[in-house]
Symmetry: C2
Subunit: 500 residues, 2 copies
Amino acid sequence: MGALGECCLGGKPGCHGMEQMLLVGGEEEEIRLGPELECGGGIEDAVKVLLEGLGEDPDRDGLKKTPLRVAKALRDGTRGYKQSVHDIVEGALFLEAGMSNRVDRARGGGGLVVVRDIGLFSYCESCLLPFRVQCHVGYIPSGQHVVGLSKLARVADVFAKRLQDPQRLADDICSALQSSIKPLGVAVSLQCWHIHLPELGRKNPCQRHTSSRSNMQGWHELDVCSYSGIFEDEGGDPWIEFAAVLKFGGVNVGRVEEEKEKEKPSPLQNWCPLKSPEMVQCIGKASSKLVGTLPDAMVAAVTSILTSLGEDPLREELVGTPQRFVRWLMTFRRASFELKLNSNFHLGQLGLYSAKNSGGDIIGSRSKGEIVHSELSLPFCSQCEHHLLPFYGVAHIGYLAPPESKIIDRSLLHSVVLFYGCKLQVQERLTRQITETVFSIFCGGVMVVVEADHVCMVSRGIEKMGSSTATTAAMGQFAANLEAKTMFLQTIACSRAAGG
Amino acid sequence: MGALGECCLGGKPGCHGMEQMLLVGGEEEEIRLGPELECGGGIEDAVKVLLEGLGEDPDRDGLKKTPLRVAKALRDGTRGYKQSVHDIVEGALFLEAGMSNRVDRARGGGGLVVVRDIGLFSYCESCLLPFRVQCHVGYIPSGQHVVGLSKLARVADVFAKRLQDPQRLADDICSALQSSIKPLGVAVSLQCWHIHLPELGRKNPCQRHTSSRSNMQGWHELDVCSYSGIFEDEGGDPWIEFAAVLKFGGVNVGRVEEEKEKEKPSPLQNWCPLKSPEMVQCIGKASSKLVGTLPDAMVAAVTSILTSLGEDPLREELVGTPQRFVRWLMTFRRASFELKLNSNFHLGQLGLYSAKNSGGDIIGSRSKGEIVHSELSLPFCSQCEHHLLPFYGVAHIGYLAPPESKIIDRSLLHSVVLFYGCKLQVQERLTRQITETVFSIFCGGVMVVVEADHVCMVSRGIEKMGSSTATTAAMGQFAANLEAKTMFLQTIACSRAAGG
């Protein structure tokens, strides 16, 4: 693909096979590593530079093995560079006598094979953040041969496991299947979601009972397609049939006409949020206030990571990528918290107002006459300190206050969440820190529930898409009183049931 | 875990690591295998015996590599026997100062960590068929240590990748986490789905926009839980909090009280459909008619597979398993089709009646005055000949007939689908065979769409849960006429939109 098609990584040949074997066993940190460890050394050193640039101590407990984890995840996430489509498809072509005889392709009907909803993760080449893909692949066999169905997913994964943009990913999958299976045609439709900036957050990432696609609300979405052979005619039977089969699977496929495309800017230009002028300004404002110009050492470190992965940092699409990644990463810099604290976070001075104007839900009166206030679904995006990958979700805060006391403005509680969220974190600590801070104002009792999706859980290693993590903490009367706790938890359940 | 805890397979140590490495590359059939291939030899020979017992030619194109594929899938699907929880958790315990200080566990509140919706596949030890698991794990840290979140999923996977029943799976996960993390307590809730018998099928397996859990309609479901430490008190804060956090994630957790449990038979006794008296009778009736007594060679072959996996076929839970698996497999025997054909499948004699009594949808009149009839969502369960694993779904059949002609009864069309479905198959061929058969009656034109979920796509190798496959075929005027085709495809879309 592009700069490095089937090339092997520099350094020791074969060391990657070994790394992948270790990952499968699920013990990526624990197994004693032999000399092959050295092949990740370049990336590990670069990650240490990034951690230091973030104002962190790379030797503290949670970060000690982070460089090793990041190196392994990056190697694994770009393993597609070393995989060959030919090897995957060869030996998985099966003779189906009659496939192109009685079902008469010349007359335009039949024989379409579609695999829908192949879930993938890829890396955005503009910013190095992972993006989510729901992939739908169709082809029409020829020469009386069909390909094993799982190979369509495997070939798609080969190209997803590289630095990509959505359109090239679709084109790569399409042309690789066309040339390896040699069917009458191939159609590929991708729905891609790019994570947004921390500040934008999401309303409700953990909503359940939804498909893996429909819970991507708040992510930046782009739909692309690619086609070859008899799918090229947009008004022809094969394309219409492909679109129809996806439609009754719930996916609407649209093709951008090439004529129109020439007139207006490509939607790809706005694909990566970190490239859009609005976001560059937004991040620039935040990061320049915090860090001034970008640290050269961090940019050089990311450039060296690209080189270690076998990529060419001078390839057109990668120019500016290290800067964009560092700019994004620096919004999670330690120092930024102090600044934020001083500028807009004065607990005890601001944001307290009378309960009777409360926007919170008064869910019941307690025996002592105190009231349980709750602020639900406060969005945040944080950075997992074990993997340098985002986790994002919502915090729910409940607290007890006497009927006549002041309560806290929702926006101030949200500031508390963002304050502790916007750095290298673990979810358990984030939950505890929010609880302690709110408890310092309302000593009656506080309970916090944080729900989050962890990119590290779905994009690498165990790849458990759809999983979500919930953590709780309680202090004061909330910790001791089951009735108050139950009321608060039920408020969340009711809000969720109402689509909140 | 039962018979073989952490034991290594007999034969060459280390050969499994190699196999797993090959699987990751996604080229399980293609890579030249060295001497380590021999370690799968026993299973491969046994699978050949099964194929011959099914009346198949193990050397035909689609089956040549099936023994190798099945052996690799079984090895991979039971790799948990060779994995160590200690290795996974060690090195992933992180110091979280303050975790058990200010958040006061002694007073009953806070600190709960829950990972919801970990999707897993396991093998039923009663019948060797895979079963689907949605796993939810919670724990409350102690000793100021938290475990890396992905480790909860990895540990669950270690025990899922063994021959299991749901309750032991839950207990294994719970006790392994309790002893390795040493938290204040662990809670595990599992939702498990066992595939039903072929005849039972499912109404609509491919329905989209639903969560990975809610589209298991038609599968046999069992919910179990396991708990340790402070979760043992059902009325206590920790359990209630765990249940609440799952509830607002859409999962209802119930505990079976032990007192009541003693009085009535355990729900586990009815867990495996192939063990329930009703099903034994049902399969027995079908298989005795077809094959008489079970072939000893096939039962011996499955017994040898258990031994090759390192299991003890005399372990209490495995007694009868080879017989159950063979009995189930024999419902897909080639010879059975002829019998079914003779007994209740007389095309041209039965099942044709006047169109005005049709249960099918008359979706429009054609230029020649012919009518498009459609029968939607005819369920089936078939057996993938490449992996000896079920694929199941629905067929939609559309055909053109003159207004005054007879049409086909839905149940007869369903017989056609079951007739071709109930054997070793590939979905593309199944679609073509249904089309050709219906076309032999209605020469005007036929179109068939088959939608299916393939267990081989989700339970092994690439593990793309949620993916589904659609295939189409058309003959006669349906192949040539886009209008008729579009009308039929829209009928499916409308039916799907209406929840059909």
